[in-house]
Amino acid sequence: MMMMDISREVEILLVEDNLDDMELTMHALRAGKLCNSIHVVRDGEEALDFLFCRGLHADRSFDHPVQLVLLDLKLPKVDGMEVLRALKSDPRTRRIPVIILTSSREEKDLISGYDLGANGYAQKPVDFDEFRDAVRQLGLYWLVVNIPPPPVHEEK
């Protein structure tokens, strides 16, 4: 699902299958004035297509990587951990910061998330104020404070 004009540089990729969660997250990002360039994908397969510039997203280029991936774990088709593994094991994508944003606080999820190279892990709080605050801080840190890795140049 495209929220933005594809030609513009995407800063945040939100991988989220749940419409409610998607809307609440977008709401929170909007509240934090961070919704300029968000792309939302609804399953793991689409996320990989987007990030690896293939399929529907073949016109994308590795020259313009996203600055942040907000990754839900429980996803249709390819789950979040698989997306993370593919991302972090490919030299073209492994520098992209990935934050796991999920309902789960299971230890095994935390461990495998970090083991696979996630850059952060956040649990979606039930309280909306807290949630909004968390999303705002995340966006602020990764898009404003953090200096992103240089793009990987690769011949298509």
Binding site: N18, D20, D21, L24, H27, L73, K74, T102, S103, S104, R105, E106, E107, K124, P125, V126, D127, F128, D129, F131
Partner: protein, 596 residues
């Protein structure tokens, strides 16, 4: 036989040989001594014979003398009889004497000298007799008066005396020799008697000692036999001893008990005919038949057999050859193990094991399901709650102007409900995680834990007057994160239920009870009635209304689960409106270093 006995037997044969040798030597000596004795006696007798013959010769010479003189004087022929007799005998005697003294050259010489003297005297006498007869007495008289006869008689007497003296000397020597020989014989005899007595004594001693050894050995053997018999009788396994014809020699008590048969029905009977042939098991026949001729044995040969008295039995047969040392008989030892019960027990056990495996599998499945359930609760149940909370919040914020006051209140209620439900889910997840988590044991200072928790609670305690009394607490081997959760739950409870007090006093300390360190948390809060003490640690169990004291009823359940996981115990003492005290022990290492 004992080693001692064996040694004795080894000594006996050489001793016997030695004794025989000594006896033989002594016997030989006695024989030789006897012969010497006989010889000595013969010599003495010989000498006496010589002397006797000498005497006879001399008296014959006297006869010659006197009878010739008588005839010469009287002229009567009757006087001539002894003369003629002597004339006949004398040469015989001389010849005999020569024979007797043939071994003695000295005596032979003396005889040589004597013989002419005798012949001369005889000739003289004979001449006198002839003269007297032819020419009468007067013709002889001058010859008689010459004394020639007397002179030659004296010479003869002298020679004979000389001969006799030599012979007497010999006699004396030979008598001496005989005496010595006699004494030697006596000594030898005494020695023989002493030796025999000694040998008899030694023999007696040996026989007695051997008898004692034999007796001891017999007793030992007897004891060993009784010992073996006791063992055989005590062995729980039925045992049979069979002879070469497979007749039962003996059976132990267990055999009679297990197969319900008497000794009379068993002993001496052929094995295959026992109990109406119930032991005639075809598979067993070749095995048993081979044991003695081929020196084989077999072990744990399983047989199932129907017994009229005790029903179907599963047995393990083992047999081997026995060798009885005493009379060289060969026997067969047959051991029968009745495994019927064990088999059925094994079957039962297998059944139980299978059932246990099923149960374990079911339990594991249930655990996996539970895990999947809690995971899905954490993910799926929280999500809708979050959505309710989120959207109601947005509704309230973004659409407040369009909502009447009552509507806004309702939205707030929705939000509060969602928050509570979220908290409940989180607490439940915490509780289930405690159950699934493995303990990471380390030595933890409880005082540090309590101080950390008190710091964490500062926000909650803000604006209240609270006195924390944290006493000395022990070092404990436990899971640090879990024990912190216990302390956090207990202290936040204490903080919560002292809220109505103008000044809260919360005390943490340790005391000893039944030799165990007990950690307690005491407050001066609202307390509770001990009537409900048993409900205190149940999940969702609450003793206070939610509007008075918020809470999900999971905290103390979590505390209990953690304490139990450490092998400890948790309990509470309280009085309504007078405060509460929660106590717990942790079995693991509560005595690690005592109070610190």
């Amino acid at each position: 036989m004992t080693v001692l006995g064996l040694q004795k037997t080894r000594v006996i044969l050489p001793s016997f040989v030695l004794a025989m040798l000594v006896l033989l030597l002594v016997g030989l000596a006695a024989y030789r001594q006897g012969r010497r004795n006989v010889a000595a006696e013969q010599w003495v007798r010989h000498t006496y014979e010589v002397l006797g013959e000498l005497n006879t010769t001399f008296s014959l010479m006297q006869d010659v003398e006197t009878s010739s003189r008588g005839y010469v004087l009287t002229g009567e022929d009757s006087y001539l009889e002894p003369f003629n007799n002597a004339l006949q005998l004398i040469p015989q005697k001389i010849h005999h004497l020569r024979q007797l003294t043939a071994d003695n050259p000295e005596q032979q010489r003396r005889l040589d000298a004597l013989e002419p003297l005798i012949s001369l005297r005889v000739r003289t006498a004979d001449a006198n007799i002839v003269v007297r007869r032819t020419r009468g007495f007067s013709a002889v008289e001058p010859t008689l008066n010459e004394g020639q006869g007397k002179m030659s008689m004296d010479a003869i007497r002298g020679r004979i005396a000389e001969f006799a003296a030599a012979e007497n000397q010999l006699l004396e020597r030979r008598t001496d020799e005989l005496r010595v020989s006699n004494i030697q014989t006596l000594a030898l005899f005494i020695a023989l008697v002493v030796l025999l007595a000694g040998l008899l004594t030694v023999t007696l001693f040996l026989v007695r000692r051997n008898a004692a050894v034999l007796q001891r050995e017999f007793e030992l053997t007897e004891k060993a036999r009784a010992y073996a018999e006791n063992i055989v009788d005590t062995v729980r396994q039925p045992l049979l001893v069979l002879d070469a014809e497979l007749r039962v020699q003996s059976a132990n008590r267990s055999f009679y008990q297990v197969f319900q048969i008497t000794a009379q029905e068993t002993e001496g009977k052929p094995f295959y005919e026992l109990g109406k042939g119930q032991w005639d098991i075809p598979a067993l026949r070749p095995l048993l038949a081979e044991i003695l001729p081929r020196h084989t044995s077999f072990q744990d040969f399983e047989v199932e057999q129907d017994f009229p008295s005790i029903g179907r039995r599963t047995m393990l047969f083992s047999a081997r050859k026995l060798f009885r040392v005493g009379n060289n008989t060969e026997l067969v030892l047959l051991a029968i193990e009745d495994t019927t019960e064990r088999k059925s027990a094994e079957k039962q056990l297998q059944l139980l094991n299978a059932r246990l495996k099923e149960h374990t599998l079911a339990l594991e499945t249930a655990n996996l399901e539970l895990e999947a359930f809690t995971y899905s609760v954490s993910h799926d149940l929280r999500a809708p709650l979050r959505h309710i909370a989120g959207f109601s919040k947005i509704l309230k914020e973004d659409f407040a102007p369009h909502l009447p006051a009552e509507g806004q209140r309702m939205v707030e209620r929705i939000q509060a409900g969602a928050r509570n439900a979220g908290q409940l889910v989180d607490d439940l997840l915490g509780l289930s995680q405690v159950g699934r988590k493995e303990l990471k044991l380390e030595i933890v200072g409880l005082k540090g834990v309590v101080q950390g928790v008190v710091r964490d609670l500062e926000g909650e305690a803000m604006g209240r007057e609270i006195e924390w009394r944290v006493g000395e607490l022990p070092f404990v081997e436990c899971d640090a994160a879990l024990i912190k959760q216990v302390m956090a739950n207990l202290l936040s409870n204490a903080l919560k239920y002292t809220r109505p007090r103008p000044k809260a006093v919360i005390e943490v300390g340790t005391r000893e009870q039944d030799g165990r360190a007990v950690v307690y948390v005491r407050d001066n809060g609202v307390g509770f009635s001990m009537k409900y003490a048993d409900k205190l640690f149940g999940v969702f169990q609450r003793l206070h209304r939610a509007e008075d004291f918020e809470g999900t009823g999971v905290g103390l359940a979590t505390v209990q689960r953690i304490v139990h996981k450490h092998g400890g115990r948790v309990w509470a003492e309280a009085e309504l409106d007078k405060g509460a005290m929660f106590c717990f022990t942790l079995t693991r290492g509560f005595e690690v270093e005592g109070a610190a």
